[in-house]
Symmetry: C2
Subunit: 490 residues, 2 copies
C-alpha cells in the first residue's frame, strides 16, 4: 500500500485531484493527540500524601480513568471508521480536505463532552451533546462518501472499475453510520431513561467486534460450510472491503500516541517545577541547585517514563518491520496496548509523589509494573496473533523457524518478563522495592543493546545441547546398529 501511494505523490496532471497521503497523516496526528488527552486530568489529580493510595485510587481516580478509557476507545472507533472511509476514497480535492477538517474539529471536541458526562452523570446534557457531535460527524462523513461517489475519479481503483458501485457505497455508509445511528437513539433516550443511553454508547465501542464475534460463533456452531458458501457468493465484492487495516495508518496513529505520551510529563515539569525566584531567595538562600533538588523525583519520573515508552516504541517498531498486514484483531490488540501506554506517565508520576518506603510508594511501583506488563504483553499478543496466520501477516524472517524469529521473541518477551519479575520481587522484598524498580529501569536499555549477543549465545548453547543429545541418540543407534548384525549373526 505504501509504495504506490508514495510513488503517486504530487498532483495528477489535468485535474485538481490530490493524493490523500498527507491529509491522512495530519488526521492521524490529531486523532492520536485527542485519544490520549484525557490522561492529563487523571495525572493532575492531587493525592494527599497522608491518604492511602488504595482508597484514593478507588474513589478519586476511578471516574477520571473511566473517562480516559472511554475517550480513548471512542476515538479509536472514529479512527477505524476514518481508515475505512479513506480506503474507499483514495484521492481528495479541496472540498474533501475541508470537509475532513470540519470532521476532525468535531472529533476533537468529544473528550470535553465525556468530561461533562463524568462530572454530571445524572444530567442528560452531557450525553446529549456527545450524541449530537457523533451524529454530525456521521453526517459529514456521509457527505464525504456521497461526494466521492459523485466524482468517481476520487475512488479506489478497484471500485472505480467495478460495475457494482452502489454495493460499495451502501457497505461503506453502513460502516460509517452505524455508530451515529446508535448515538441518535442515545440522544433521544437521554431525556427519558439515561441508563439506556449509556448502554447504547457502550454498544458503539463494542459493536464492530461484537458482530465479528457473533458471525464467528455462528460459523463455529453451524459448521464451516455456511461461511464458505457466503464467502464464495460475495467474493467478488468483499475482496476489497474485508481488507485489513492499512498498516501505514496503524503505524502513524501509534507513533502519534507514543510521541504525545512520551512528552506529556515534560509539559508538567516545564510549568510546575520551575521554582519561584522569591522562594529561592528566602527559603534556599539563593541556591538554585538546592531548590531544584527538591524536584529530583519528578525528573526521575520523566526520564523513567520516557525511557520505558521509548523502548516500547522501539519494540513496536521492530515488530511492525516484520508485519506485512495488520488484521483487525491485531489492530484491536494494538489499541489495547496503546491504552495502557497512555497510563504510563500517570504511573511514573505516582511513584515520584510519595515518601520513600511508605506503603503508598510500594503500591505505586506495583501499579507501574502492572501497567508496563499489560502494555508489553499486548504487544506480545500482536505477534502471537500474527504467527497464527503467519503466511499472510508476517515477513518470512519473523515466522517460526525464520532467521530473526528467536531475536524477535526475546525482544517482545523482555518487558513482560522484567515487569512481572519486578512486581513479584517488590511483593517479596518490599523494603528494597524502590531500588529494584530503579535498577530495572537502568538495566533494560542495556539489555536491549546486548540482546542480540545474548540471543546468539543462548541459541548456540541450545543447539550444542540439542546436537549433543542427538549425537548420543545417534551413538546409541550406531551401537545398536553395530550390535544388531552381531546379534543376528549369533
Amino acid at each position: 500500500m505504501a509504495a504506490p501511494r508514495a510513488a503517486a505523490l504530487g498532483p495528477e496532471p489535468g485535474s485538481s485531484t490530490q493524493t490523500s497521503h498527507r491529509l491522512l497523516a495530519y488526521s492521524d496526528a490529531l486523532l492520536s493527540i485527542i485519544a490520549t488527552v484525557m490522561i492529563l486530568p487523571v495525572a493532575h489529580t492531587k493525592i494527599h500524601p497522608d491518604q492511602k493510595l488504595g482508597e484514593s485510587v478507588q474513589q478519586l481516580l476511578l471516574a477520571k480513568i473511566a473517562v480516559y478509557l472511554m475517550t480513548f476507545l471512542i476515538v479509536t472507533v472514529a479512527w477505524a471508521a476514518h481508515v475505512r472511509l479513506f480506503q474507499v476514497i483514495e484521492h481528495i480535492d479541496d472540498v474533501l480536505a475541508l470537509l475532513n477538517l470540519a470532521c476532525m474539529m468535531i472529533i476533537t471536541f468529544l473528550p470535553y463532552t465525556f468530561s461533562l458526562m463524568a462530572s454530571f452523570p445524572g444530567i442528560p446534557f452531557g450525553i446529549f451533546l456527545f450524541s449530537v457531535c457523533a451524529v454530525v460527524i456521521g453526517l459529514i462523513q456521509a457527505v464525504i462518501v456521497a461526494y466521492g461517489f459523485y466524482h468517481p475519479h476520487l475512488l479506489n481503483q478497484q471500485i472505480q472499475e467495478s460495475e457494482n458501485q452502489n454495493f460499495y457505497k451502501r457497505h461503506i455508509l453502513k460502516i460509517i453510520l452505524r455508530g451515529p445511528v446508535l448515538c441518535f437513539l442515545a440522544a433521544i433516550f437521554s431525556f427519558f431513561f439515561i441508563p439506556l443511553s449509556y448502554v447504547l454508547l457502550g454498544l458503539v465501542i463494542v459493536f464492530p467486534h461484537l458482530t465479528r464475534v457473533i458471525t464467528w460463533c455462528k460459523n463455529k456452531v453451524l459448521g464451516r460450510r455456511g461461511e464458505e458458501e457466503e464467502h464464495h457468493s460475495l467474493e467478488t465484492f468483499t475482496f476489497y472491503l474485508s481488507e485489513p487495516l492499512s498498516k501505514e495508518r496503524v503505524e502513524a496513529f501509534s507513533d502519534g500516541v507514543y510521541a504525545i505520551v512520551a512528552t506529556l510529563l515534560i509539559l508538567d515539569i516545564c510549568e510546575d517545577n520551575v521554582p519561584d525566584p522569591r522562594e529561592v531567595e528566602e527559603k534556599f538562600h539563593g541556591s538554585l541547585l538546592e531548590a531544584l533538588s527538591e524536584y529530583g523525583p519528578n525528573y526521575l519520573a520523566y526520564f523513567g517514563s520516557f525511557v520505558t515508552i521509548g523502548l516500547l516504541w522501539f519494540v513496536h517498531h521492530s515488530l511492525f518491520l516484520y508485519v506485512t498486514k495488520a488484521t483487525r484483531l491485531m489492530g484491536l490488540l494494538n489499541i489495547l496496548s496503546l491504552a495502557f501506554i497512555g497510563g504510563l506517565p500517570l504511573a511514573y508520576q505516582l511513584t515520584s509523589e510519595f515518601a520513600e518506603k511508605s506503603h503508598n510508594e510500594i503500591e505505586a511501583i506495583q501499579v507501574s509494573c502492572v501497567i508496563t506488563f499489560f502494555a508489553s504483553i499486548f504487544q506480545f499478543a500482536i505477534w502471537t496473533t500474527a504467527l497464527l496466520n503467519e503466511e499472510e501477516t508476517l515477513h518470512p524472517f519473523a515466522r517460526y523457524g525464520g532467521k530473526e524469529h528467536a531475536f524477535m521473541f526475546a525482544k517482545l518477551a523482555l518487558y513482560p518478563c522484567v515487569s512481572l519479575g519486578a512486581f513479584f520481587l517488590t511483593c517479596l522484598l518490599s523494603e528494597f522495592s524502590t531500588a529494584i524498580f530503579h535498577l530495572m529501569q537502568i538495566v533494560i536499555p542495556f539489555a536491549f543493546l546486548a540482546l542480540r549477543i545474548f540471543v546468539r549465545i543462548s541459541l548456540t548453547a541450545i543447539k550444542s545441547v540439542m546436537s549433543l543429545s542427538r549425537r548420543k541418540v545417534v551413538l546409541l543407534e550406531e551401537e545398536e546398529a553395530c550390535l544388531s548384525p552381531n546379534e543376528t549373526l549369533s
Copy 2:
C-alpha cells in the same frame, strides 16, 4: 526521495538493517511537540481583567514569549541537524535506533533548561545545564556518525560508493558539532561572564544562516568568479551535501506542529472548563446549561483557533503539493511561519478573556490579526521564494503561467489580505471590532470553498477585459494600418 524510501520498506534480506522511515517520523513527532510546548506557560499566564493588556504584555509575557521563541528556534536547529544526519545515514539498525532515542530524550529536556534560564537570568546554572545537554546531544550524534561510517552499508548509496568517505564524515561532523562546540564555550563562560554565554547561544541559532549570508555577500562583493571556481573544485563532493532539506521531513515536522497547536486549547478546556457539580447546584440552581454558558467565549476561542490553524494547514498542504524541493530559505520561512502559528491559540485565548468592547479586547483582537497575518505572509513568502527558482522547486502547474498558478496565488493571499483588512477595520471601527473578527472567522472557510469559482470568474473577467483592450489596440492598429497606406498614398 519519498518513493525509493517507501519502496524499500521492510527489512533487507540478509542483515539486521532497517529503513529509517518510521524512526524519522517518530522523531519528527517528538520534536514538533517539544518545539511548541513552551507556548503553554505563555497561554496559562493569568492576566487580571483590570490590568491594561499593553502593560501586562510588556511586563509579564515578554520573558515567556522569549523563552517560547528561543525554544522553538533551538529545537528547529536541532531538527535541521537531525535531518542532515539522517540524509547521510539512510539505514538504521537497533543500536542506531536506541542511540537516536537517547538523543531525543535529551532534546525533550531542553525546554525546561530554558525555563530555568528565563526565571533566573543571573544564575549560571540554567545556561550551564542547557549547554551540557547540547554537548551531550552533539556527542551522541557524533557516535551515531562514527557508527554509521564504521558500518558503511548503513550510509547513503552515493557516499557508500564514493572513494572520499572521510570528506563526507568530516563535513557532517562539522555540521553536527558546531552547535555543541559553541555551547561548550558558553558553559565555560557561564561561570565568568554570563552575557557572553547568551551571545554564544544566540550564535547557535543564527550560525547556519550567518555563514550562508556571509558567503553570499562575499561572492557579491568579489564578483561571481570566485564562487564558480570554488564551486567547480568541490562539485564532485558537494553535490549531495548541498542538497536541500528533505521535503518529506519538512512536511512531517509541519504536520506535527499544526496538529499539536490545533489541539492545545482543548487540553485546557477539558481540564479547566468543566464546572464543579457543587457550584452548579448552589450558583445556577442545578442548571448545567446556564453554568456552561459562562464558558461560551472559551469554546468560541477553541473553534476559532482550530479553524484558523486547520485552514492554514490546508494552505500549506496545497502549497507543498506543488513544491518538488524545499530549499534552505524555504525551510527557514516555513519555520518562521510555524513559530507564529504556535502563538495563535494564545491570541485566541486572549480574545476570549476580556469584557466586550473594552480597550483590552480590541488590542487582543488586533494581536490575533497580526499573528495570523505574519503566519500567512510567511507562507506566501515560501511560494514567492519558490517562484524565484521555479524550474527546480515547483511543479509546472504552479509556475508562472501554469494551470493552477492563479488559484494558488488566491489561496495564499486570502489570509494575509483578510487579516490585514480586519486589523485596519478594527482600528477605524473600534466599536464593531468583535463583530468584524467573528464575521471574518465565519466567512473564511466558505471563501476557501468558493475560491475556485471566484478565481475562474475573475480570470475570465480579466481575460475579457484584456481581450477587449487588446481588440481596441488591434482595432486602432488596424485603423492605423488602414490609414497608413492611404497616408502613404496621399
